[in-house]
């Protein structure tokens, strides 16, 4: 009986710890310190240059803990912050469900949910993203990780009279099992998205042959990040309207 009571008390203590705003503040401070350390060491070590080329978790397991410990620690703190955010939001909604300005109560929670979706996006991309770079020539092909083949038909560029490149592009064709199924044109800021993979044109050159630097990328967290962003912005807009009004009322009072 004593043990049950002890466990119950322990559970309540843990819950209270996670539902505390003070915990959130300490966790944010810890995260700030870790990221600050990361921002200082990142330009110093060459290994961080390859962080773009592979998914985050793959990079972290391939490099020494001496380099990656702050990222592991940051993920640990973010996990605690996630639990804290969830519990604080649930508690806040239940505590203030009868409040008159319900939108003011709910808007910070929508912001929090948006934030959590963005964390989820990073988690998914960090595990199963893909990036690959290749140089291709006109009429050459590239096999993609999803089994599709891309044929680069024509590589083109638009120069201004001073010799600056205004634009560049490549006409591409998709094939599956040797059969054509789609044609597209890729340009800067205008990739070709097909079957969860994006084909991006990074640069072109025409001497000695027309060639393009191509990046193939899979960002499985992108849709979650977009959902999170929309929720975050919607929550912030409502929060702004109500908070500023509330501050004015308090100021007048």
């Amino acid at each position: 009986m004593d043990n049950v009571l002890k466990n119950k008390n322990m559970l309540i203590k843990i819950l209270k710890f996670f539902m505390s705003l003070r915990t959130a503040i300490w966790l944010i401070m810890a995260l700030l310190c870790l990221l600050f350390y990361g921002a200082v060491v990142m330009p110093v070590y060459e290994e961080f240059q390859s962080l773009h080329a592979v998914p985050l978790f793959q990079w972290m397991t391939e490099n020494s803990p001496g380099l990656t410990w702050w990222l592991w620690a940051a993920i640990g703190v973010i996990s605690l912050l996630t639990a804290n955010t969830l519990l604080c939001s649930i508690e806040s909604v239940f505590k203030k469900k009868s409040a008159r300005q319900w939108l003011l109560v709910i808007s910070p929670q929508v912001v929090h949910i948006g934030f959590l979706f963005m964390l989820l996006a990073h988690l998914i991309s960090g595990y199963s993203g893909f990036r690959g770079i290749a140089v291709v020539y006109e009429n050459s092909g590239l096999r993609l990780p999803n089994g599709n083949e891309v044929l680069f038909k024509k590589i083109d560029a638009d120069m201004d009279p001073r010799g600056y490149m205004r634009d560049w592009s490549a006409d591409i064709e998709y094939y599956k099992d040797g059969r054509f199924f789609r044609a597209d044109r890729i340009r800067p800021n205008n990739p070709s998205l097909q079957d969860d993979l994006g084909v991006y044109i990074k640069n072109v050159q025409f001497q000695p042959y027309p060639a393009a630097m191509i990046e193939v990328s899979r960002e499985p967290g992108a849709a979650w990040a977009l959902i999170g962003s929309i929720l975050f912005m919607a929550g912030m807009i409502i929060l702004l309207m109500f908070k500023i009004k509330k501050e004015e009322v308090m100021g007048n009072g």
């Binding site: 705003l21 962080l51 205004r166």
Partner: protein, 238 residues
């Protein structure tokens, strides 16, 4: 012609210490400078230290003038905002203007909104730092409350700028996130103001500590904008 406009604008701001309407005149000339520079380039002047410093300087006044109405410390607030505006305008004049055509990767709506909103948020954080400093001397509740509102709006702009930057990154580079020092500092800045907004809800942090946090925040802004862009290699290097 453009340099003359900037010099005249600076002169009017200096006269603004004696007569307020001169400040409005200085601001009008700054806007005229930006319009003319935009026409000359055929695009928004938002690339390189010269144009971005000038844009930041103009943004200070864009927000400082409307916010100052009804403020008890109006003259002191506007004097400080003017000093900040002139400082950044002179700094922009020291930097060589970048007048080349835009690389294709920068020719997108997402880039323009990403940069413009970032600098609007930096300006709001700068004004919030001024209000924090004023609060430390006058202890007027109104000043601290206004600092909070500026940071809240700045935080919104900054968050939207980050989101739009992510959307642009996805279309340009195939990822909404790049692991460079600039991106890391951007997150540090965003987290710092998240800390401010959460801390201010607690009794212990309200008032003086929150005001000090708002001042420190602008130092982080300056390093994120100028320090990282000038000293470190990233997608945002000048």
């Amino acid at each position: 012609m453009l340099t003359a406009l900037a010099v005249l604008s600076t002169a009017l701001y200096v006269f603004g210490y004696y007569r307020m309407p001169f400040v409005y005149g200085g601001f009008v000339l700054q806007v005229a400078y930006m319009i003319m520079r935009g026409i000359e380039l055929g695009r928004l002047p938002l690339v390189g230290p010269h144009d971005t410093l000038f844009f930041l300087s103009t943004s200070f006044m864009l927000f400082a003038i409307p916010v100052s109405f009804g403020l008890k410390n109006r003259q002191r607030f506007l004097n400080s905002a003017t000093a900040m505006t002139v400082f950044f305008m002179l700094a922009s004049m020291l930097a060589k203007p970048w007048s080349h055509p835009l690389p294709p990767i920068l020719k997108t709506f997402w880039f323009e909104v990403h940069v413009a909103l970032s600098f609007f948020s930096y300006a709001l954080f700068g004004l919030a730092a001024i209000l924090g400093a004023l609060y430390l001397t006058d202890r007027e509740e109104e000043t601290e409350s206004l600092q909070y509102k500026m940071i809240l709006v700045g935080y919104f702009f900054f968050s939207v700028a980050m989101i739009f930057g992510g959307i642009w990154g996805f279309y340009a580079w195939g990822t909404y996130w790049l692991w460079t020092p600039k991106e890391l500092w951007t997150v540090i800045l965003w987290l710092f103001y998240s800390l401010y907004l959460h801390a201010r809800l607690r009794q212990w942090w309200a008032g003086r500590p929150a005001a000090v946090l708002g001042i420190i925040g602008f130092a982080v802004v300056l390093f994120t904008y100028l320090g990282v862009s000038l000293l470190m290699k990233s997608s945002h290097s000048f």
